[in-house]
Amino acid sequence: MATSVYMEALSPTMEEGRVVKWHKRDGDPVKAGETLAEVETDKAVMDLVARADGVLRQVSAAEGQTVPVGSVVAVIAAPGEAVGAAAPAPQPAAAPAAGTGERGAVPSDPAPAATPAVPADATRVRASPLARRMARDQGVDLELVAGTGPGGRVTKRDLETAERAHVGAARPVAAQPAVQREVPLPAPRSSVVARRGTAYEDIPLTQIRKTIARRLAASLGPIPHFFLTTEVDMERAADARGALNESLGERGKVSFNDIILKATALALAQHGACNAWFQEDHIRYWNEVHLGMAVAVEDGLITPVIRNADLKSLTEIGREAKELAEKARTRRLQPAEYTGSTFSVSNLGMFDIDQFTAVINPPEAGIIAVGSIVQKPAAVDGTLAPRRRMRVTMSCDHRVIDGATGASFLRTLKQMLENPLAMLL
């Protein structure tokens, strides 16, 4: 009895495979386990092996052809067995999704003559005629836009929303020269943080975001963490703190933690893409910065929230942080005081921890873990000098924050801490 050779799912996420090379030809005898062909999956080139002994027949997928998983690409006939008419040629898979902005964006393009009409499938971009025209004109890849119309259709409003989100989330960071003598300043900003009118904007997940979310979550657990560490020179921050405390005198004291909280809040205001909640079917990009502050309590920890931290002065933050920490330790926090944070800071510096990774506080997309400030030799202007250095490690939820996004935020934070005056800009 003949055995069909299917395009197998050679990786967990594989939906189609491209036949790179047939190792056996029509009529060749094959043994179970032998490599029949090399197949390129979404990840790598893998071997498609024979599942039965016999003779390879009816090879229907040509080298270079891409076919969906599950299609029959050949049969293995028992020796001497006559097999029926050639299997129908497998249907070519739809063109790959990414990188072909033209497809789908051009409604009038006739389908290639060789392609039979295929039912709408997941890879087809659904968009209204108006949205297609707008996307074509503006060079927008409809694949990257989340549709909210019937059946997930991309509408005019979705395009407009996507455009706003793009402007909001991926605000470009001022380019920095590669080598600098002076501590670089972050991009100038007004002291009054400009905000849009709403507290937040819900941006539906694009297909790509959904896939990233699904795949990373499946591989790493409920929240796919990754970590970014940077070492910050705290000399200037320490000097500034000393001077501030001297001038404040009896009126209070500014701690390193206060400075870190303030800098984090300001950096978040500039990097909206890191100030976000992952919400299963959408990402909520917060326009407000509500900073969670991990506080160790007797039998665990709690994260009280400094609301609108980006709009508060250093002394306000300091006073509030102190009050909240005290309330946390005496278990007097009200629910409103420990919910709703948009990003968190965990500081174990006082425990002499050089560096650690913190666990993200969902639905937030990031947290920074702050180590202790240690004096160590560092190269300054080509000379070795003792410097107060501090390591900051950011945990990112990869469903929301990509490597470069997190790194860019962390760079701004580092710049602010290394030149605290920048916070006044």
Partner: protein
Amino acid sequence: MANQFDVIVLGGGPAGYVAAIRSAQLGMSTAVIEKEKLGGVCVNIGCIPTKALLHSAYIATLLREAKEFGVDAGAVKTDYGVAMQRSRRVSDQSSKGVEFLMKKNKITVAKGAGVLQPGRKVKVANDVYEAKKAVIIATGSRVKGLPQIGLEINKTTVISSDEALFLDKAPPSLAIIGAGAVGMEFADIFHAFGTKVTLIEALPRILPLEDAEAADTLAKSYKKRGIDVIAGAKVKKGTPGKDRVTLEVEANGATQTLDVAAALMAAGRAVNTEGIGLSECGIQVTERGFIKVDQALQTTAPGYYAIGDVAGPPMLAHKGSREGVCVSEHIAGKKPHPIKYDNVPSVTYCHPEVASIGLTEDQCKERKLDYVAGRFPFSANGRARGSGETEGFVKILRDKKYGEILGAHIVGAHASELIHELAVARENEYTVEEVELAIHAHPTMSEAVAEAALDSLGRVLHV
């Protein structure tokens, strides 16, 4: 508890009863509280009976012109009382239809005036109904008079549509104050029944919310028929007498005195928000008096929703019905598609009919949109010529860059039916090209829609 339901709807008009049906469809136990007849203003003293009377008016006009079509109906006699009786039967039938729908969907109907109470409760006389999930407020609106100029509705000489719909005889003369949809329709009806009609509008144009071109076409049509149309006119004072009303009307810098048998107030509606317990429940109203709602139509009090006229303009039955569907789905935990308030068709059923959707040409200009107006007159449409209904046109406002249908305006016979092709197009973001590409049957009035789309592309065929 007997009086406990998932959803309680206060008001059985087109918003409320549709919300009740959709709620019941979604498996929620539902009660509707209605103090008068099911179907509300729309079914009983609004949309439905006026359409019956307008059809009577249409027949009268048709028969008067029938000789030209080879049908001599002789001297046409009209009787408003008979037409009115027929319109009542139509309304009753529709109201009974709503009753049937309530039964069919196992919806409890409580008769009486409901008053909201905190805790998602509604008091009706001595009974208290409690909603486990939500209370939906759909109390609608009513006509209002202009007491500040002496025109308080007295139901004899100063009347509203409520009384006009129950008259036994058409008055010999009638001043209609307000030339929006209601005023236009009653002018059409009474004129056909032999009343000397004067239509007075404060704004510079009749049908002030419609496209200027549509309004002008109607003004011409009405004047040609012998209806006096005074736009940009201010009624300074009204003096109701025993069987007369004297009106002082100022227009074009001159004041004239009108002596009519009755005045019909058609200048706006007031929402029914008094005495239903809004403030007791913490439900706020807007500056304009509508109930304040968010995008999901939730009021400022959790568990209370508002739909229809009380939730804000446009005060149209079909807008209320859609809100009813959306709110019910929202309460049931579904994610209804948000309502596109800029895609609610607006129709005036006078002759010729006026129907529109989206922006007017003036609004396009105000917003500085780059648009092209495509037009097609019914005088160039074979079907319209065949039935002698060549008044009017189709106008489509097309965005120059992407072809988006910014607005569409139709004046003509069956405009109310023709507009929906453009409503579907706009809802699905079809551009003028998709409208034009769809093959339109010949000969139909609808061909004018495709031709207007073509005209906006500079490719009109039949002009």
